[in-house]
Amino acid sequence: MFIWIIKRDLLLAVRRQSDVLITLFFFIIVVSLFPLSVGPEMNLLRTMAPGVVWVAALLASMLSLGRMFSNDYLDGTLEQMLLSPQSLSILVLGKAFAHWIVSGVPLVLMAPVLGIQYDLPFDALLVLTGALLLGTPVLSLIGAIGAALTLGLRGGGVLVSLLVLPLYIPILIFGAGAVEANMAGIAFDAHLSLIGAFLLASLVFAPWAAAASLRVSLE
């Protein structure tokens, strides 16, 4: 069942390429806006790079959160998901995983390229990609809770970001912190392990909470 949900969502993503590309281009545009605003001065950009890339990743993955459940809600497939013998949390985990693949992985692959734009040293780029790889699934998982809660509400898209951004802050801190630590030469594994811990915790709790929110929204 878990596989079917992912297969279906990836099939949908392939059929509707624009969603994937929109998220990616949004990420690229936001990241390349900063040098224009702050000036091309290299070592200033270098210190800003982790923060900018991470905030852009946060916003980009939140862009498509609103649509995670709303399409299914409108055409009735979400009801069928609630009525499937498989537990709803597994299905929500599948949805979040599919959302991560569609809007998380492209960002992770693009991040090093944009890092070069900010003249980041090579190992900082590696740490940045690693941190993003660990962090973006958490964004999709916690985002799933926000998307489920604001299902079918007018102005739901904006409300999701208001609900979910405060919960992203620890990931933002440790994600950007890992890259800064690496650039400053201090050990960054503490940051990555904390993000990993956060990932495991949200893997366990987020699907359950999102399933509960779906039941509340569809009552």
Partner: protein, 247 residues
């Protein structure tokens, strides 16, 4: 006599009970407030380090504690409402949120005004002030989610879930901000180096905390009564109350 707590769990009987309790808390709040202010301004000595400006702690610290405490109480009532499907506890959670948000705003405002004379800037990225700001966002998120949903039942449950997720995240956010603060600034400056507390200062502050407790309970009870009326307007007991003119 055994108090049958469940008697008060129905909105109808709780409405009248709350009506009787509000004056008690209002009086208590006023008494503690006057006592606290008197101690704060007239008994507590001037601080050798910060001069008179430190007197702001008499409202900054109670506001900060109340904002944190009220969020936890709100999450508690929201969880009870979600688990036992009791409408009254969800109404309580909805009633607590605005007061909690107000205290968070006050904590931020007084924190900024205290920071200006001490460090020359209105806003200090201190760990506690920053987590207070994030707490403010959590309150706003909770209230806007509840405002966006028309059906009160769904609003209560959705609010409960975001409150529980929020309360689970508060310690995480607090420690990550704390950690982030020490990483960047190296704890040179932070509010939690409270000045050596003379006993009168401490008592002044504690009395002010009691005053803010009494005030919050009174205000929240008052708001719960209004929410009960709003949601129970169709039920019969409200119309009798209306006839008796005791609304």
């Amino acid at each position: 006599m055994a108090i049958n707590w469940f008697k008060y769990s129905s909105p109808a009987s709780f409405y009248t009970l709350a009506g009787k309790m509000i004056p008690i808390f209002v009086i208590a709040a006023v008494i503690f407030l006057v006592a606290g202010l008197y101690i704060g301004f007239f008994v507590a000595p001037t601080d050798f380090q910060q001069g008179e400006a430190y007197r702001i702690i008499f409202i900054h610290v109670p506001a900060a504690w109340m904002s944190m405490f009220l969020y936890v109480v709100m999450a508690f009532w929201a969880a009870i409402g979600l688990a036992f499907n009791t409408r009254l506890s969800s109404m309580f959670a909805t009633a607590i949120a605005p007061t909690g948000a107000m205290f968070t705003f006050l904590a931020l405002w007084t924190g900024a005004l205290w920071g200006k004379p001490m460090w020359g800037t209105w806003w200090v990225w201190d760990a506690r002030l920053t987590s207070e700001l994030i707490l403010f966002f959590l309150y706003i998120g909770f209230m806007s989610l509840q405002a966006a949903i028309d059906d009160p039942r769904r609003a209560d449950k959705a609010g409960a879930i975001i409150a529980i997720v929020g309360v689970v995240n508060i310690p995480i956010i607090y420690f990550s901000v704390q950690w982030w603060n020490t990483l960047h600034q190296g704890a040179s400056v932070s509010i939690n180096q409270a000045p050596a507390m003379a006993s009168t200062m401490l008592t002044g502050m504690l009395v002010m905390v009691l005053a803010s407790w009494m005030y919050s309970i009174a205000v929240i009870l008052k708001r719960v009564r209004v929410i009960i009326l709003e949601r129970e307007s169709h039920s019969a007991w409200v119309t009798e109350l209306q006839k008796k003119g005791a609304v």
